[in-house]
Every structure is written in C-alpha cells, then in structure tokens.
Symmetry: C2
Subunit: 469 residues, 2 copies
C-alpha cells in the first residue's frame, strides 16, 4: 500500500494521514470499500494501534472516511466527501475511540458482564448513600444556587479529610467540581496553551489523554515503573522537553493499579522542582488506598501540586461531585473558568455529599468496599490466570487489573467476540499513545471473576480446561 | 496623562493597555498609587467603561496592577510585578468583572435586596418542586451513572415540550447539559476557533460575552431594535464580517426584556441563510414567554439553529439541568466535547427534572409564575419611575427591567452606595462592549419594587419626594 519513513521529522501519524488521504483523493481506494482494521494496518505499517486509530479519526473528521458501528471504517461516498453547502458549516463528527468507550460504559445496553467498566456494580454503591440522607437535604437544596466555589460546609469537610492525609488544604484552596473531569478541565483551560509540553502517565487515563490532545498541547508520555514513575525517563524528558505540567496518578493508578512509593513521590517532586513544572495529582481512587501511602500533595504541601479528587467512582455515580485543591494563587483563575463554563454545581448533589461526609457512615462504607475489592481481586487473579491471561503488575490494588493477552491473540477480534457474548472489555491500546497498552486488557476486579467472562476467555485463549479445574 | 488615537488600526483597548503599561514600567506612576476609577478613565479617554474594565483586567493579569476589593485598582509593588520564580508558573488571577458579579449573585452575603440578581426569590421557586418529587426518584438515581447524552425518558419529555412549540426536535437531537452555560460551552468548543467572527446581541448576556472573549473569537456586536434584532445592522455586519455564528436571545431578552416579532425572526433567518452562518438561540427564559411568540428554531425547523434551554432560572436553581437541541449532524461532536469535559450530568438532577416535567405540575407552576411576574412588573415600573429611573423599552417582559439612570449620575458610585445599603445592583455596562449599557441598570422585577430599593433610589436620584407620594 505505502511505506512510512522512520526517523523522519514528520510524525508517523501525520505520514499515515497524508498517505491515506492521497490514495483516497486520487481515487485509488474505491468509494464504499472497507479499510483494513486498526490492528491490521498497525501491524502492516509498524506503528501503534493508537496512531492508526487517531489517523482514522482525523480522516473521518475531514469526511474522507466513515465509521460504521461494529464493522469498521469505509471510504466515504463522493457526495459525503464534498458534501452540500450547509455541511461546510460544521465538520463531520469525530466519534473518537474515547467517546465510543464511554458510551458503551454509560449505556451498558445488552451487556451482562461490564468487565471493561470503570464503575462498580450498582449493588456495591447502594450501601454508600441511603435515601434518607438525600431526603434530609432536599428542603434546603432546591430553591437556591450554591456558590461558585462550592458549598462552604462541604469544603470544610473536604479540607478535614485532606488534613487527615496530611495535606494542608484550607476550604479556600478547594473548588467543588463536576467530578474529576471538570477539575482537569479547569486546569487545562486556565493554565495550558496549545503547543505546551505536558507530561502524562504512560499508560494512563485515556479520557484525560483525549482531552489533552484536543486542547492542542504536546503530550510527552512518561513510562510507569513498578514503584510509580520511571524517574530516569522523567528527568530526561523534563530536561529535553521543558514541560509545563505533569498529570499523574500516584495511588491505585488507572489502568495498572500501581501506587508510587514514598521515595518515588519524592523523586517526582525533585524533578518538578529542578525543572520548575506544575504537577496535577489525580486521586480519584485514593479513598480506597491504604492509609500509609504518601501523595505528592502531602510532601509538596500544595505548593506546585494540584490535587484532583472525585466521589463518582468510589461513592456514587448518580451524583456528580469532585473537587480540586490548589495553591491559593491559582484559585481565582479556576473559579473564573468555572463561571464561564457552567457557573456552579448542583446544590442538591453538593448537599447530599455533605450529608454523607458529615455522617461518619462514609468511613465504614469505605472499609467494607476495600475488603470487598481485596477479596474480589484474589478470586479474579486466580481465575484469570487459569483462563490464559497473565499479569506483569501482580502487586496492583484498587479497582483495576492490568492483564496481558498472549501476543498471538488478535485483541480487537477478542473484544468484538466478547461483545457478542454480552461481555464488555476495555482495550489496553486505548490507554497508551506509545503501544504500552497493546495486547492488554483493563479489567474491573468486581466483574473479573464472573464465570461468563472466565468461560469466554478459556474458550478464546485455550489456556485451561474449564472454570472449575 | 496620554491621548488615544481614533481611526488607528490599533484598537482603543490595546492602545490603552500599552499606554498604561509604558507609564507603569517607566516608573511614572508610583507603585502603590491608585489608578483612576473605570468611569473616570473612560470619560477622560473617551472610550467605554467596558473597554477600560477589560484593559485593567489585562494589566492585572500581567501583574502590573492589583485590584483591592471595593477600593479600586492600584499600581502593583515592584516585587509583585516581577514576582518570585514560582509565580512565573501561572499568571495572576484575572478576576474579571463577570466573575465578580456572579460571585455577588451566588453568595448574596449581606444583601437585603438582590435587585441585580438573575434568580427569583427562593420562596417563588419552592412551589416548582416538592420534596416528595425528589424522594420518589432517589432510589433509582444514585447507584448508576446517567448516559452521556442524558436520560432517555427526560429527553423524550423535553422533545414533547419542544413539539408543543412547533420545534421538530427528536430525543436524539437533544443533549442534556449543566444549565444553559454548558450548552454554550459545547457549541463554542466544538464549532468555533480563535479568530472566527461571531455575532452577539448588544446588549446581551455578559457571562456568554466573557466566555466568547476568552475563547479568542472576534466578537461583532449587533444592536437590538424595539422588535428584536436591528436587521439592517445585522445584514451589513454579516456582509462585511462573514460571521460563522450568531448568538441571540429572541424571547424575553436579557437584559432588555424584548421579544422578537415573527417578522424579525424571519428576517434574522433570511440573513443567516444568505450569508450561511449558524444561529444559537438562547431560550433560557422562554417557558415564561407568551405562547404566541415564535422562535428561530420553529421557523428554521432546527436546520441551522441550535436551541439552548435551561431549568435553572425558571424552575429551580438547586438542580443544574439545561439542554441543547441541535441538528442531528452536530450531535456527535457535542457529545464528544461533553465526554471530554465532564462525562455526564447528575443522574439525581436529571431524574428530579423528569419527575417534574412528567407530573403536569410544571404547567401550573409556570402559569402562577407568569402572573406573579406581570403583577410585580407593573408595581415595579410605577415605583421606579417615581424614584427617578426611566425606561426606553417599556414593552419588555420576563424577569428583567432595563432601566436608565439620568446621565448626570455616576453609576459606579450609585452601585457602591447601594451595596453599602444592602442593595445589590447590576451595572448595565457589564452587558455591552460598545457602551449601550452605560448609565443603565438591569433590575430583577421580583425585587424592583422593594421599598428599601425605592427609598434608596429616591434619595440618590432626588427624583421624587418619597415612596408613598
């Protein structure tokens, strides 16, 4: 078909887009014909599936190719390529991989085992908030907007919880947000410009990765190590790329489950200080982490570290409340960005969370949840190993298992087959721009020992003789 | 001090910033000394207060001047101008006029008469949602995330309501949002780029105006007329500026209260079609509008018009739910932008609104609210006229009164005096980049006949002998 040039100053992704565009525009690929799958093309051209996926999305945005749900990418009919006058008003929808994944998770239609989801089973959450906690809050919550920064008592409670982890945040350092997503969004809007170099965990949280890509910053992936971040790589990248910021998850990392050691946290901050960049610490799962873990925000005392937390994943997906704790000099900018995008959060949601945190029930709920996750993890790892998956990071913890599929298996096909069997799997390739997620699956421990999943994997991977050996 | 050059290719605002910067950097304005007030400098240089306000914010962002709450702008101390190394990581907080206003509205601390607020009194809202409506929804709402696009039944109900106004939106055209703000934000993110020419109502909703300015688009203000938009001006600006989009509020316009006539709506769409731009119709108050009013979305049948609605202002400030109805070809892009910024709305809030809309109580609530607003408006206009304010748009309707202050009055001083008396007023200058809001106040009809306000205005404007003549 064509050859990509390594060591060229033109990125491989750009080469791929240009080559494909030329072939299509020249009419050498018939309209309506199917393109190779992401994996096929990745193998053939020697780039990562992530690069191919991104190239397909860019071509789709220009209208040259179209995606058909479940069956792949096709050369667009001529009419769609040029389009009627009115279509020029807006580009075609991009339909990114991130969007497709999130839709699948949130809709969960025709899925029996949502093993790729980032949420826990509804029955697990139902112990966190009782209906009476909500009822008690309704009367005061409806008729008034909350403040832009978030309810003052709620911020007091959040500050107390941070103090318990030795993070010196006062209520004035805290901005209540719509989940962690808005925390990231406020930081990106207020502090980053297109072209800025930004360090990210590789692998890492793919929605953040997609959000950062969309903002036009230059992403610099930093590999994870067994005890957190690969410090040599971090220092080298900081020296050569002069980054403005590092987004990292130091506790119960998504997708690997790794938590950074105290020494690793210290090392990250040393590099940040030497090269003077800011750090965003994603702590959305940290309420599930063992108490002895340290955090960057704790060592740094909230000087150059932003702390992003959320209650969506650990407490309750039905209310959308997270928070951002930031050095005071940045707070006004974040508030301005919040006003301009959505004024304030839901008063009702804020007061419900306030009720939960004030009641003391949350501590007991977390204890039960941690026990439950530990038991589920033990069961799941044993069953998954028998089914033919293997694990590079056996000491992981929290919600996720980062498992590897034998290299001979076509992961894309495996995921499609699973979907037909009512099983939703998260493709590891989503989580890495450099191929560190290829041949991997991120599994939710709560679903990962489900017999339907184990049977399916055994059948596909031929790694064992059954679920009850 | 210095002279600004009219007819220069350099905008007056840029000239102002540069002149002030040169004076400060050259040391000709002593550190710590107070700058003239916004109004004083506007009068002296012959530019609008809005232009001066923006220039001050830009200088503040660079650290050259600092704002002190309630007392104005000051030349920053040398140390703050250069700042320590760590401060270079982030610019100083901008603290825009919009942010200051919104904080004042949302906090409402030490305010007896929030006449400048965009919200109704809490007691008015309390009839819209009863606690039992929320209780009924709690059980299903907490343990699951809602879908990215929004609860399917809620979207059905929203579509039905649009159909009742002859707007052909299907549930698939509708995206549930965090109030109207997120509707605007999704449109700006997905469809606008820095430098794009964008038409806006002048005067118009200032938070949107600030948001658009922050996105780097080129704002083209279009004057309002007594029956909607000044069509001659619209056509001339469309011809010369080739805009990509027009943001307009055709019903119960904020701040003027004007609703566009059917002929005016038709005229707007004719220009939009001729010059091929998109239209965003802000309908956040339309549930309070008389049923006979037409809308752009109705005439256009949702082809080039985006319809932005919200329940925050008319039903309940305590839940944050609005929606965006869009031509189908744009929906996927908006969903992608929504995923990347905050995944989804609050399930609890969505299900509460669903309960309200399904119950039929909302129709009766709206009827009572409309009657209440009409009575309040009649009372307020009479009292305010006696107090010395006057009205250019006496046929306005809805939440707001757009009143004029005699030209001899210093509005900035008036607002500061009011604040000391526990009265919060909204400065008309906030609503216009061209000075069309100078010497004006936007008043909330629900508070505008309050004796404390009337007495205060009588005393300040010396327009009458008392509140009970």
């Amino acid at each position: 078909m064509f050859q990509l040039v390594r060591n060229s100053s033109k990125p491989l992704g750009d080469q791929l887009v240009d080559e494909l565009r030329d072939l299509i525009v020249a009419g050498r690929l018939a309209t309506g014909s199917k393109l190779p799958s992401v994996r096929q093309l990745a193998r053939r051209t020697g780039v990562s599936p992530y690069t191919v996926m991104t190239a397909f999305e860019r071509l789709q945005a220009t209208g040259l190719i179209v995606a058909r749900a479940g069956s792949g990418y096709f050369i667009a009919p001529r009419a769609e390529m040029t389009g009627p006058a009115v279509a020029e008003l807006g580009p075609s929808p991009p339909q990114s991989a991130a969007l497709g994944y999130v839709h699948a998770v949130m809709e969960q239609k025709s899925i029996s085992v949502p093993a790729g989801s980032g949420f826990l089973p509804a029955s697990w959450y139902s112990e966190g908030i009782s209906p009476s906690m909500v009822s008690r809050r309704i009367n005061g919550a409806l008729a008034r907007p909350t403040s832009v920064q978030g309810d003052a008592v709620l911020r007091e409670l959040l500050a107390e919880r941070l103090h318990a982890r030795d993070i010196p945040a006062a209520p004035r350092n805290i901005i209540v947000t719509i989940g962690a997503s808005q925390g990231f969004d406020l930081i990106i809007r207020a502090l980053l410009s297109p072209g800025d170099a930004v360090l990210i965990d590789d692998p890492g949280y793919f929605v953040l990765l997609t959000r950062l890509t969309a903002s036009g910053v230059r992403l610099i992936p930093v590999p994870k190590s067994h005890d957190g971040t690969a410090l040599d790589a971090l220092e080298e990248l900081a020296r050569t790329e002069r980054p403005r910021m590092f987004f990292t998850q130091t506790q119960l990392h998504n997708p690997t489950g790794i938590s950074a050691s105290p020494a690793n946290c210290h090392g990250i901050l040393q590099v940040a200080e030497k090269y003077n960049f800011l750090v965003v610490e994603d702590h959305v799962h940290s309420d599930l982490a063992p108490a002895h873990l340290v955090s960057l925000a704790r060592i740094d005392e909230l000087r150059r570290v932003f702390y992003v937390g959320s209650y969506t994943k650990v407490l309750c997906p039905g209310i959308r409340i997270g928070f951002l704790a930031a050095p005071e000099r940045f707070v006004a900018q974040f508030l301005e960005a919040k006003v301009l995008t959505l004024l304030s959060c839901s008063t009702l949601d804020e007061l419900v969370l306030r009720e939960v945190l004030a009641s003391g029930k949350y501590r007991r709920y977390l204890e039960r949840l941690r026990d439950r996750l530990t038991r589920a993890r033990t069961l799941a790892v044993a069953a998954l190993k028998r089914s033919g998956l293997y694990f590079d990071t056996p000491n992981g913890d929290g919600l996720f298992l980062w498992s590897s599929v034998p290299r001979t298996v076509d992961v894309e096909r495996l995921i499609a087959e699973a979907r037909r069997a009512g099983i939703f799997l998260a493709d590891g390739a989503l989580f890495s721009p450099t191929g560190r997620g290829d041949s991997r699956l991120r599994l939710n421990v709560a679903y990962a020992a489900d017999p339907l999943l184990i049977d399916f994997l055994c059948g596909q991977l031929q790694g064992c003789s059954g679920t009850n050996p």
